[in-house]
Symmetry: C2
Subunit: 274 residues, 2 copies
Protein backbone atom coordinates (compact mmCIF):
# COMPACT_ATOMS: atom_id res chain seq x y z
CA UNK A 1 0.00 0.00 0.00
CA UNK A 2 1.34 3.41 -1.00
CA UNK A 3 0.48 6.00 1.61
CA UNK A 4 0.47 9.73 0.89
CA UNK A 5 0.60 11.62 4.18
CA UNK A 6 -1.89 14.48 3.95
CA UNK A 7 -0.98 16.63 6.94
CA UNK A 8 1.25 19.33 5.37
CA UNK A 9 -1.65 21.11 3.72
CA UNK A 10 -2.09 24.87 3.85
CA UNK A 11 -5.86 24.52 4.22
CA UNK A 12 -5.14 23.31 7.78
CA UNK A 13 -4.84 26.33 10.07
CA UNK A 14 -1.73 25.26 12.04
CA UNK A 15 0.03 24.62 8.73
CA UNK A 16 -1.02 27.99 7.29
CA UNK A 17 0.47 29.67 10.35
CA UNK A 18 3.65 27.62 10.19
CA UNK A 19 4.11 28.35 6.48
CA UNK A 20 3.47 32.06 6.94
CA UNK A 21 6.05 32.21 9.72
CA UNK A 22 8.44 29.91 7.81
CA UNK A 23 8.43 27.81 10.98
CA UNK A 24 10.84 25.07 9.89
CA UNK A 25 10.56 23.12 13.15
CA UNK A 26 6.80 22.77 12.86
CA UNK A 27 6.97 21.56 9.26
CA UNK A 28 9.85 19.17 9.92
CA UNK A 29 7.99 17.75 12.89
CA UNK A 30 4.89 17.10 10.77
CA UNK A 31 7.06 15.53 8.08
CA UNK A 32 9.04 13.34 10.46
CA UNK A 33 5.98 12.00 12.31
CA UNK A 34 4.25 11.01 9.08
CA UNK A 35 7.43 9.52 7.65
CA UNK A 36 8.05 7.44 10.76
CA UNK A 37 4.41 6.31 10.76
CA UNK A 38 4.91 4.78 7.32
CA UNK A 39 4.09 7.43 4.71
CA UNK A 40 5.51 6.68 1.25
CA UNK A 41 5.02 10.28 0.07
CA UNK A 42 4.54 13.47 2.05
CA UNK A 43 1.91 15.65 0.43
CA UNK A 44 2.78 19.36 0.37
CA UNK A 45 0.12 21.93 -0.42
CA UNK A 46 1.03 25.62 -0.13
CA UNK A 47 -1.88 27.08 -2.12
CA UNK A 48 -3.06 29.33 0.71
CA UNK A 49 0.22 31.26 0.43
CA UNK A 50 -1.26 32.67 -2.82
CA UNK A 51 1.44 34.63 -4.69
CA UNK A 52 4.13 32.97 -2.57
CA UNK A 53 2.84 29.45 -3.33
CA UNK A 54 5.74 28.48 -5.65
CA UNK A 55 8.45 29.88 -3.39
CA UNK A 56 6.98 28.22 -0.27
CA UNK A 57 6.53 24.93 -2.14
CA UNK A 58 10.25 24.88 -2.96
CA UNK A 59 11.15 25.92 0.59
CA UNK A 60 9.13 23.09 2.16
CA UNK A 61 10.47 20.43 -0.20
CA UNK A 62 14.08 21.44 0.42
CA UNK A 63 13.43 21.57 4.14
CA UNK A 64 11.93 18.08 4.22
CA UNK A 65 14.58 16.48 2.03
CA UNK A 66 17.45 18.11 3.96
CA UNK A 67 16.09 16.54 7.14
CA UNK A 68 14.75 13.25 5.71
CA UNK A 69 16.94 12.50 2.68
CA UNK A 70 14.90 9.45 1.62
CA UNK A 71 11.52 11.16 1.83
CA UNK A 72 9.60 11.90 -1.37
CA UNK A 73 7.01 14.63 -1.79
CA UNK A 74 3.58 14.67 -3.42
CA UNK A 75 3.51 18.13 -5.00
CA UNK A 76 -0.08 19.17 -4.42
CA UNK A 77 -0.95 22.18 -6.54
CA UNK A 78 -3.23 23.36 -9.31
CA UNK A 79 -0.69 26.03 -10.33
CA UNK A 80 1.86 24.95 -12.97
CA UNK A 81 4.32 27.56 -11.66
CA UNK A 82 4.23 26.06 -8.15
CA UNK A 83 4.45 22.57 -9.63
CA UNK A 84 7.56 23.47 -11.60
CA UNK A 85 9.12 25.22 -8.61
CA UNK A 86 8.65 21.96 -6.73
CA UNK A 87 9.99 19.76 -9.52
CA UNK A 88 13.11 21.92 -9.80
CA UNK A 89 14.27 21.37 -6.24
CA UNK A 90 12.92 17.86 -5.57
CA UNK A 91 15.53 15.08 -5.33
CA UNK A 92 14.33 11.71 -6.61
CA UNK A 93 10.96 11.28 -8.33
CA UNK A 94 8.10 13.25 -6.84
CA UNK A 95 4.41 12.47 -7.16
CA UNK A 96 2.35 15.12 -8.94
CA UNK A 97 -0.97 15.71 -7.18
CA UNK A 98 -2.69 16.12 -9.61
CA UNK A 99 -3.70 16.33 -13.22
CA UNK A 100 -7.23 15.81 -14.53
CA UNK A 101 -8.95 15.78 -17.90
CA UNK A 102 -9.38 19.57 -18.17
CA UNK A 103 -7.67 20.63 -21.37
CA UNK A 104 -6.15 23.89 -20.12
CA UNK A 105 -4.60 22.28 -17.04
CA UNK A 106 -3.35 19.38 -19.08
CA UNK A 107 -1.73 21.64 -21.71
CA UNK A 108 0.23 23.41 -18.99
CA UNK A 109 1.27 20.28 -17.11
CA UNK A 110 2.13 17.78 -19.84
CA UNK A 111 5.35 19.58 -20.86
CA UNK A 112 6.44 19.59 -17.20
CA UNK A 113 5.63 15.88 -16.88
CA UNK A 114 7.74 15.17 -19.97
CA UNK A 115 10.62 17.22 -18.63
CA UNK A 116 10.68 16.04 -14.99
CA UNK A 117 9.20 12.49 -15.20
CA UNK A 118 7.22 12.53 -11.95
CA UNK A 119 4.73 9.87 -10.95
CA UNK A 120 1.24 11.32 -11.52
CA UNK A 121 -2.18 11.30 -9.85
CA UNK A 122 -5.04 11.71 -12.34
CA UNK A 123 -8.49 12.79 -11.14
CA UNK A 124 -11.52 11.51 -13.06
CA UNK A 125 -12.90 14.93 -13.86
CA UNK A 126 -12.76 16.85 -17.14
CA UNK A 127 -14.12 19.93 -18.86
CA UNK A 128 -17.61 18.43 -18.57
CA UNK A 129 -17.29 18.81 -14.80
CA UNK A 130 -17.83 16.21 -12.11
CA UNK A 131 -20.21 13.36 -12.82
CA UNK A 132 -21.90 10.83 -10.50
CA UNK A 133 -21.94 8.32 -13.33
CA UNK A 134 -19.59 5.33 -12.97
CA UNK A 135 -19.12 4.76 -16.69
CA UNK A 136 -18.25 8.41 -17.36
CA UNK A 137 -15.68 8.57 -14.57
CA UNK A 138 -14.20 5.24 -15.66
CA UNK A 139 -13.91 6.57 -19.22
CA UNK A 140 -12.17 9.75 -18.05
CA UNK A 141 -9.76 7.53 -16.13
CA UNK A 142 -8.96 5.52 -19.24
CA UNK A 143 -8.43 8.71 -21.27
CA UNK A 144 -5.97 9.96 -18.67
CA UNK A 145 -4.11 6.66 -18.78
CA UNK A 146 -3.91 6.76 -22.57
CA UNK A 147 -2.69 10.36 -22.57
CA UNK A 148 -0.07 9.80 -19.89
CA UNK A 149 1.31 6.61 -21.41
CA UNK A 150 1.55 8.45 -24.76
CA UNK A 151 3.71 10.97 -22.91
CA UNK A 152 6.16 8.38 -21.59
CA UNK A 153 4.59 7.81 -18.19
CA UNK A 154 4.59 4.09 -17.29
CA UNK A 155 1.42 2.45 -15.96
CA UNK A 156 3.23 1.85 -12.66
CA UNK A 157 3.69 5.61 -12.33
CA UNK A 158 0.03 6.49 -12.88
CA UNK A 159 -2.42 6.79 -9.98
CA UNK A 160 -6.08 7.22 -10.97
CA UNK A 161 -8.42 8.77 -8.40
CA UNK A 162 -12.02 7.61 -9.06
CA UNK A 163 -13.29 10.43 -6.81
CA UNK A 164 -15.53 9.69 -3.88
CA UNK A 165 -18.83 11.35 -3.02
CA UNK A 166 -20.72 11.40 0.27
CA UNK A 167 -22.87 8.34 0.87
CA UNK A 168 -25.17 10.61 2.87
CA UNK A 169 -26.08 12.40 -0.35
CA UNK A 170 -26.02 9.55 -2.85
CA UNK A 171 -26.96 6.00 -1.82
CA UNK A 172 -24.71 4.36 -4.42
CA UNK A 173 -21.70 6.66 -3.96
CA UNK A 174 -19.62 3.97 -2.26
CA UNK A 175 -20.45 1.29 -4.80
CA UNK A 176 -19.76 3.56 -7.76
CA UNK A 177 -16.19 4.33 -6.70
CA UNK A 178 -15.50 0.68 -5.83
CA UNK A 179 -16.69 -0.37 -9.29
CA UNK A 180 -14.44 2.19 -11.01
CA UNK A 181 -11.38 1.04 -9.03
CA UNK A 182 -12.06 -2.59 -9.78
CA UNK A 183 -12.59 -2.00 -13.50
CA UNK A 184 -9.44 0.11 -13.86
CA UNK A 185 -7.30 -2.53 -12.12
CA UNK A 186 -8.80 -5.33 -14.23
CA UNK A 187 -8.37 -3.56 -17.56
CA UNK A 188 -5.05 -1.82 -16.90
CA UNK A 189 -3.00 -4.27 -14.83
CA UNK A 190 -0.18 -2.37 -13.18
CA UNK A 191 -1.93 0.99 -12.94
CA UNK A 192 -2.53 2.29 -9.41
CA UNK A 193 -5.75 3.58 -7.92
CA UNK A 194 -5.70 6.20 -5.22
CA UNK A 195 -8.18 8.31 -3.31
CA UNK A 196 -8.76 10.66 -0.47
CA UNK A 197 -11.33 8.93 1.69
CA UNK A 198 -12.87 11.57 3.86
CA UNK A 199 -15.52 12.69 1.35
CA UNK A 200 -17.38 9.41 1.77
CA UNK A 201 -18.37 10.26 5.35
CA UNK A 202 -19.31 13.91 4.82
CA UNK A 203 -22.49 14.80 6.69
CA UNK A 204 -22.47 11.75 8.99
CA UNK A 205 -21.32 11.23 12.58
CA UNK A 206 -18.39 8.97 13.57
CA UNK A 207 -16.61 9.84 10.35
CA UNK A 208 -13.39 8.01 11.26
CA UNK A 209 -15.29 4.73 11.53
CA UNK A 210 -16.81 5.22 8.06
CA UNK A 211 -13.51 6.24 6.49
CA UNK A 212 -11.74 3.25 7.99
CA UNK A 213 -14.40 0.76 6.87
CA UNK A 214 -14.47 2.28 3.37
CA UNK A 215 -10.68 2.03 3.15
CA UNK A 216 -10.93 -1.71 3.83
CA UNK A 217 -13.69 -2.18 1.24
CA UNK A 218 -11.72 -0.15 -1.30
CA UNK A 219 -8.52 -2.14 -0.75
CA UNK A 220 -10.61 -5.26 -1.37
CA UNK A 221 -11.53 -3.76 -4.75
CA UNK A 222 -8.01 -2.85 -5.81
CA UNK A 223 -7.20 0.43 -4.09
CA UNK A 224 -3.44 0.38 -3.61
CA UNK A 225 -2.69 3.97 -2.63
CA UNK A 226 -4.43 6.48 -0.40
CA UNK A 227 -4.09 10.06 0.74
CA UNK A 228 -4.60 9.84 4.49
CA UNK A 229 -3.31 10.92 7.88
CA UNK A 230 -0.70 8.28 8.73
CA UNK A 231 -0.96 9.29 12.39
CA UNK A 232 -4.45 7.74 12.48
CA UNK A 233 -3.39 4.52 14.22
CA UNK A 234 -6.65 2.67 13.69
CA UNK A 235 -6.52 3.40 9.95
CA UNK A 236 -2.90 2.26 9.72
CA UNK A 237 -3.66 -0.94 11.68
CA UNK A 238 -6.53 -1.67 9.27
CA UNK A 239 -4.24 -1.22 6.28
CA UNK A 240 -1.62 -3.57 7.74
CA UNK A 241 -4.32 -6.15 8.43
CA UNK A 242 -5.84 -5.92 4.95
CA UNK A 243 -2.43 -6.37 3.34
CA UNK A 244 -2.02 -9.57 5.34
CA UNK A 245 -5.52 -10.81 4.54
CA UNK A 246 -5.08 -10.16 0.81
CA UNK A 247 -1.97 -12.35 0.59
CA UNK A 248 0.61 -9.56 0.42
CA UNK A 249 2.43 -10.37 3.65
CA UNK A 250 4.53 -13.55 3.56
CA UNK A 251 4.42 -15.52 6.82
CA UNK A 252 2.50 -12.52 8.21
CA UNK A 253 5.83 -10.79 8.80
CA UNK A 254 4.54 -7.21 8.65
CA UNK A 255 1.48 -8.01 10.72
CA UNK A 256 3.56 -9.59 13.47
CA UNK A 257 6.09 -6.75 13.32
CA UNK A 258 3.28 -4.22 13.75
CA UNK A 259 1.94 -6.28 16.64
CA UNK A 260 5.31 -6.34 18.40
CA UNK A 261 5.67 -2.58 17.91
CA UNK A 262 2.31 -2.06 19.64
CA UNK A 263 0.78 -0.65 16.45
CA UNK A 264 -2.16 -3.05 16.61
CA UNK A 265 -3.04 -2.18 20.20
CA UNK A 266 -5.89 0.25 19.61
CA UNK A 267 -7.27 0.59 23.11
CA UNK A 268 -7.42 4.38 23.60
CA UNK A 269 -6.62 3.98 27.28
CA UNK A 270 -3.15 2.70 26.39
CA UNK A 271 -2.61 4.68 23.18
CA UNK A 272 -0.08 7.49 23.28
CA UNK A 273 -1.57 10.94 22.99
CA UNK A 274 -1.92 11.93 19.34
CA UNK B 1 -27.02 -8.85 6.62
CA UNK B 2 -28.28 -12.05 8.18
CA UNK B 3 -26.60 -12.67 11.52
CA UNK B 4 -26.47 -16.07 13.14
CA UNK B 5 -25.63 -15.65 16.84
CA UNK B 6 -23.05 -18.26 17.74
CA UNK B 7 -23.03 -18.17 21.54
CA UNK B 8 -25.33 -21.09 22.45
CA UNK B 9 -22.79 -23.72 21.53
CA UNK B 10 -22.03 -26.69 23.72
CA UNK B 11 -18.32 -26.49 22.90
CA UNK B 12 -18.26 -23.37 25.12
CA UNK B 13 -17.74 -24.41 28.75
CA UNK B 14 -20.37 -22.15 30.36
CA UNK B 15 -22.92 -23.46 27.87
CA UNK B 16 -21.97 -27.09 28.49
CA UNK B 17 -22.52 -26.53 32.20
CA UNK B 18 -25.82 -24.72 31.63
CA UNK B 19 -27.09 -27.45 29.31
CA UNK B 20 -26.05 -30.22 31.69
CA UNK B 21 -27.86 -28.49 34.55
CA UNK B 22 -30.84 -27.59 32.30
CA UNK B 23 -30.21 -24.03 33.50
CA UNK B 24 -33.05 -22.30 31.65
CA UNK B 25 -32.15 -18.81 32.94
CA UNK B 26 -28.61 -18.99 31.59
CA UNK B 27 -29.75 -20.15 28.15
CA UNK B 28 -32.57 -17.61 27.95
CA UNK B 29 -30.18 -14.84 28.95
CA UNK B 30 -27.76 -15.83 26.17
CA UNK B 31 -30.63 -15.99 23.70
CA UNK B 32 -32.13 -12.66 24.72
CA UNK B 33 -28.87 -10.73 24.63
CA UNK B 34 -28.05 -11.98 21.12
CA UNK B 35 -31.60 -11.38 19.93
CA UNK B 36 -31.61 -7.83 21.25
CA UNK B 37 -28.19 -7.19 19.70
CA UNK B 38 -29.62 -7.96 16.26
CA UNK B 39 -29.23 -11.70 15.61
CA UNK B 40 -31.51 -13.02 12.86
CA UNK B 41 -31.02 -16.64 13.96
CA UNK B 42 -29.81 -18.08 17.24
CA UNK B 43 -27.46 -20.99 16.64
CA UNK B 44 -28.02 -23.94 18.98
CA UNK B 45 -25.41 -26.68 19.24
CA UNK B 46 -25.93 -29.41 21.86
CA UNK B 47 -23.47 -31.97 20.48
CA UNK B 48 -21.48 -32.20 23.71
CA UNK B 49 -24.54 -33.67 25.43
CA UNK B 50 -23.77 -36.84 23.39
CA UNK B 51 -26.67 -39.31 23.76
CA UNK B 52 -28.89 -36.50 25.07
CA UNK B 53 -28.12 -34.22 22.09
CA UNK B 54 -31.58 -34.60 20.44
CA UNK B 55 -33.52 -34.19 23.67
CA UNK B 56 -31.49 -31.12 24.73
CA UNK B 57 -31.79 -29.61 21.23
CA UNK B 58 -35.58 -29.77 21.48
CA UNK B 59 -35.52 -28.44 25.04
CA UNK B 60 -33.41 -25.39 24.09
CA UNK B 61 -35.51 -24.55 21.03
CA UNK B 62 -38.78 -24.71 22.99
CA UNK B 63 -37.22 -22.67 25.77
CA UNK B 64 -36.05 -19.93 23.41
CA UNK B 65 -39.27 -19.73 21.43
CA UNK B 66 -41.44 -19.68 24.57
CA UNK B 67 -39.50 -16.65 25.77
CA UNK B 68 -38.81 -14.96 22.40
CA UNK B 69 -41.73 -15.96 20.16
CA UNK B 70 -40.27 -14.31 17.05
CA UNK B 71 -36.81 -15.83 17.39
CA UNK B 72 -35.67 -18.45 14.91
CA UNK B 73 -33.02 -21.08 15.56
CA UNK B 74 -30.11 -22.36 13.50
CA UNK B 75 -30.12 -26.07 14.31
CA UNK B 76 -26.42 -26.85 14.48
CA UNK B 77 -25.85 -30.57 14.42
CA UNK B 78 -24.20 -33.35 12.42
CA UNK B 79 -26.69 -35.88 13.83
CA UNK B 80 -29.87 -36.38 11.79
CA UNK B 81 -31.72 -37.52 14.92
CA UNK B 82 -30.92 -34.26 16.73
CA UNK B 83 -31.77 -32.30 13.58
CA UNK B 84 -35.17 -33.95 13.34
CA UNK B 85 -35.83 -33.48 17.07
CA UNK B 86 -35.18 -29.77 16.48
CA UNK B 87 -37.34 -29.55 13.35
CA UNK B 88 -40.23 -31.21 15.17
CA UNK B 89 -40.55 -28.57 17.88
CA UNK B 90 -39.39 -25.46 15.99
CA UNK B 91 -42.07 -22.87 15.16
CA UNK B 92 -41.51 -21.03 11.89
CA UNK B 93 -38.70 -21.96 9.50
CA UNK B 94 -35.42 -22.87 11.13
CA UNK B 95 -31.98 -22.72 9.51
CA UNK B 96 -30.22 -26.08 9.22
CA UNK B 97 -26.52 -25.77 10.10
CA UNK B 98 -25.41 -27.67 8.06
CA UNK B 99 -25.27 -30.05 5.15
CA UNK B 100 -22.21 -30.68 2.99
CA UNK B 101 -21.36 -32.78 -0.03
CA UNK B 102 -20.71 -36.02 1.90
CA UNK B 103 -23.04 -38.63 0.48
CA UNK B 104 -23.94 -40.40 3.72
CA UNK B 105 -24.84 -37.15 5.51
CA UNK B 106 -26.80 -35.93 2.53
CA UNK B 107 -28.77 -39.16 2.23
CA UNK B 108 -29.87 -38.84 5.85
CA UNK B 109 -30.71 -35.12 5.70
CA UNK B 110 -32.39 -34.66 2.32
CA UNK B 111 -35.61 -36.46 3.40
CA UNK B 112 -35.76 -34.21 6.48
CA UNK B 113 -35.23 -31.12 4.34
CA UNK B 114 -38.07 -32.20 2.05
CA UNK B 115 -40.36 -32.84 5.00
CA UNK B 116 -39.64 -29.74 7.10
CA UNK B 117 -38.55 -27.12 4.49
CA UNK B 118 -35.85 -25.38 6.55
CA UNK B 119 -33.42 -22.85 5.15
CA UNK B 120 -30.07 -24.63 4.71
CA UNK B 121 -26.36 -23.90 5.15
CA UNK B 122 -24.16 -25.92 2.80
CA UNK B 123 -20.44 -26.35 3.51
CA UNK B 124 -18.08 -26.69 0.55
CA UNK B 125 -16.65 -30.03 1.63
CA UNK B 126 -17.42 -33.49 0.27
CA UNK B 127 -16.25 -37.10 0.45
CA UNK B 128 -12.94 -35.99 -1.06
CA UNK B 129 -12.31 -34.05 2.16
CA UNK B 130 -11.37 -30.42 2.57
CA UNK B 131 -9.48 -28.73 -0.24
CA UNK B 132 -7.50 -25.48 -0.36
CA UNK B 133 -8.34 -25.13 -4.03
CA UNK B 134 -10.76 -22.32 -4.96
CA UNK B 135 -12.15 -24.05 -8.05
CA UNK B 136 -12.87 -27.29 -6.20
CA UNK B 137 -14.66 -25.56 -3.34
CA UNK B 138 -16.63 -23.42 -5.79
CA UNK B 139 -17.65 -26.56 -7.68
CA UNK B 140 -18.80 -28.29 -4.48
CA UNK B 141 -20.85 -25.17 -3.74
CA UNK B 142 -22.54 -25.34 -7.12
CA UNK B 143 -23.27 -29.06 -6.68
CA UNK B 144 -24.92 -28.32 -3.32
CA UNK B 145 -27.01 -25.59 -4.92
CA UNK B 146 -28.12 -27.91 -7.74
CA UNK B 147 -28.99 -30.71 -5.32
CA UNK B 148 -30.94 -28.45 -2.95
CA UNK B 149 -32.90 -26.68 -5.67
CA UNK B 150 -33.78 -30.12 -7.10
CA UNK B 151 -35.23 -30.87 -3.68
CA UNK B 152 -37.51 -27.82 -3.60
CA UNK B 153 -35.20 -25.49 -1.69
CA UNK B 154 -35.30 -21.97 -3.19
CA UNK B 155 -32.04 -20.12 -3.89
CA UNK B 156 -33.05 -17.54 -1.27
CA UNK B 157 -33.10 -20.33 1.32
CA UNK B 158 -29.62 -21.65 0.52
CA UNK B 159 -26.52 -20.36 2.34
CA UNK B 160 -23.20 -21.59 0.95
CA UNK B 161 -20.19 -21.49 3.27
CA UNK B 162 -16.96 -21.22 1.21
CA UNK B 163 -14.95 -22.28 4.31
CA UNK B 164 -12.15 -20.13 5.59
CA UNK B 165 -8.62 -21.21 6.44
CA UNK B 166 -6.00 -19.46 8.57
CA UNK B 167 -4.01 -16.83 6.70
CA UNK B 168 -1.12 -17.66 9.03
CA UNK B 169 -0.86 -21.09 7.39
CA UNK B 170 -1.77 -20.25 3.80
CA UNK B 171 -0.89 -16.88 2.27
CA UNK B 172 -3.82 -16.91 -0.17
CA UNK B 173 -6.45 -18.25 2.28
CA UNK B 174 -8.26 -14.93 2.50
CA UNK B 175 -8.29 -14.33 -1.25
CA UNK B 176 -9.48 -17.85 -2.03
CA UNK B 177 -12.62 -17.55 0.11
CA UNK B 178 -13.36 -14.05 -1.22
CA UNK B 179 -13.14 -15.35 -4.79
CA UNK B 180 -15.52 -18.24 -4.07
CA UNK B 181 -18.09 -15.91 -2.47
CA UNK B 182 -17.92 -13.50 -5.37
CA UNK B 183 -18.25 -16.21 -8.00
CA UNK B 184 -21.22 -17.86 -6.28
CA UNK B 185 -23.07 -14.54 -5.98
CA UNK B 186 -22.36 -13.66 -9.62
CA UNK B 187 -23.43 -17.02 -11.05
CA UNK B 188 -26.36 -17.75 -8.70
CA UNK B 189 -28.04 -14.39 -8.06
CA UNK B 190 -30.21 -14.73 -4.98
CA UNK B 191 -28.18 -17.42 -3.25
CA UNK B 192 -26.66 -16.43 0.10
CA UNK B 193 -23.08 -16.84 1.22
CA UNK B 194 -22.25 -17.34 4.88
CA UNK B 195 -19.23 -18.11 6.98
CA UNK B 196 -17.78 -18.37 10.42
CA UNK B 197 -14.94 -15.89 10.45
CA UNK B 198 -12.70 -16.84 13.30
CA UNK B 199 -10.66 -19.44 11.40
CA UNK B 200 -9.03 -16.70 9.34
CA UNK B 201 -7.13 -15.35 12.36
CA UNK B 202 -6.07 -18.68 13.87
CA UNK B 203 -2.45 -18.55 15.10
CA UNK B 204 -2.18 -14.75 15.07
CA UNK B 205 -2.47 -12.10 17.81
CA UNK B 206 -5.24 -9.48 17.93
CA UNK B 207 -7.67 -11.93 16.39
CA UNK B 208 -10.70 -9.67 16.80
CA UNK B 209 -9.07 -7.02 14.61
CA UNK B 210 -8.39 -9.58 11.86
CA UNK B 211 -11.88 -11.07 12.05
CA UNK B 212 -13.47 -7.64 11.86
CA UNK B 213 -11.37 -6.53 8.88
CA UNK B 214 -12.01 -9.80 7.07
CA UNK B 215 -15.76 -9.43 7.66
CA UNK B 216 -15.65 -6.04 5.91
CA UNK B 217 -13.65 -7.43 2.98
CA UNK B 218 -16.00 -10.40 2.69
CA UNK B 219 -19.12 -8.22 2.72
CA UNK B 220 -17.50 -6.25 -0.11
CA UNK B 221 -17.31 -9.52 -2.06
CA UNK B 222 -20.90 -10.59 -1.48
CA UNK B 223 -21.00 -12.16 1.98
CA UNK B 224 -24.54 -11.54 3.23
CA UNK B 225 -24.73 -13.78 6.28
CA UNK B 226 -22.30 -14.61 9.07
CA UNK B 227 -22.07 -16.79 12.14
CA UNK B 228 -20.68 -14.44 14.78
CA UNK B 229 -21.02 -13.20 18.33
CA UNK B 230 -23.58 -10.37 18.06
CA UNK B 231 -22.35 -9.04 21.41
CA UNK B 232 -19.08 -8.01 19.73
CA UNK B 233 -19.97 -4.34 19.41
CA UNK B 234 -17.07 -3.41 17.14
CA UNK B 235 -18.04 -6.19 14.71
CA UNK B 236 -21.68 -5.12 14.73
CA UNK B 237 -20.75 -1.45 14.17
CA UNK B 238 -18.60 -2.51 11.20
CA UNK B 239 -21.49 -4.46 9.70
CA UNK B 240 -23.86 -1.50 10.08
CA UNK B 241 -21.29 0.76 8.43
CA UNK B 242 -20.63 -1.61 5.52
CA UNK B 243 -24.36 -1.92 4.83
CA UNK B 244 -24.54 1.87 4.60
CA UNK B 245 -21.44 2.11 2.40
CA UNK B 246 -22.71 -0.58 0.02
CA UNK B 247 -25.94 1.29 -0.69
CA UNK B 248 -28.27 -0.84 1.44
CA UNK B 249 -29.32 1.86 3.89
CA UNK B 250 -31.61 4.51 2.44
CA UNK B 251 -30.89 8.01 3.77
CA UNK B 252 -28.47 6.30 6.16
CA UNK B 253 -31.41 5.51 8.44
CA UNK B 254 -29.90 2.45 10.12
CA UNK B 255 -26.50 4.07 10.50
CA UNK B 256 -27.98 7.12 12.19
CA UNK B 257 -30.23 4.95 14.36
CA UNK B 258 -27.19 2.95 15.51
CA UNK B 259 -25.38 6.21 16.20
CA UNK B 260 -28.23 7.57 18.32
CA UNK B 261 -28.38 4.28 20.26
CA UNK B 262 -24.68 4.62 21.08
CA UNK B 263 -23.85 1.49 19.09
CA UNK B 264 -21.16 3.28 17.09
CA UNK B 265 -19.38 4.62 20.16
CA UNK B 266 -16.57 2.10 20.43
CA UNK B 267 -14.35 3.77 22.99
CA UNK B 268 -13.76 0.99 25.56
CA UNK B 269 -13.63 3.54 28.36
CA UNK B 270 -17.29 4.34 27.76
CA UNK B 271 -18.49 0.94 26.61
CA UNK B 272 -20.65 -1.08 28.96
CA UNK B 273 -18.97 -4.13 30.42
CA UNK B 274 -19.41 -7.09 28.10
Amino acid sequence: MIIVGERINSTRKPITAALEARDADHIINEARRQWEAGATYLDVNTAMMRAAEPEVMAWVIELIQAELPDALVAIDSADPVAVEAGFKVHKGRPLLNSINGEKQRMDALIPLIREYSPRVIGLTINDGGITQDADSRYRIGTELIELLTKNQVDLDDIFIDPLIFPVSAELQAGNVSLAIMRRLKENYPGVHTICGLSNISFGLPERKLINQVYMILAMGHGLDAAIIDPLDRRMMASITTVNTLLGQDKVCRNYLKAYRSGDLNLDPTTMAAE
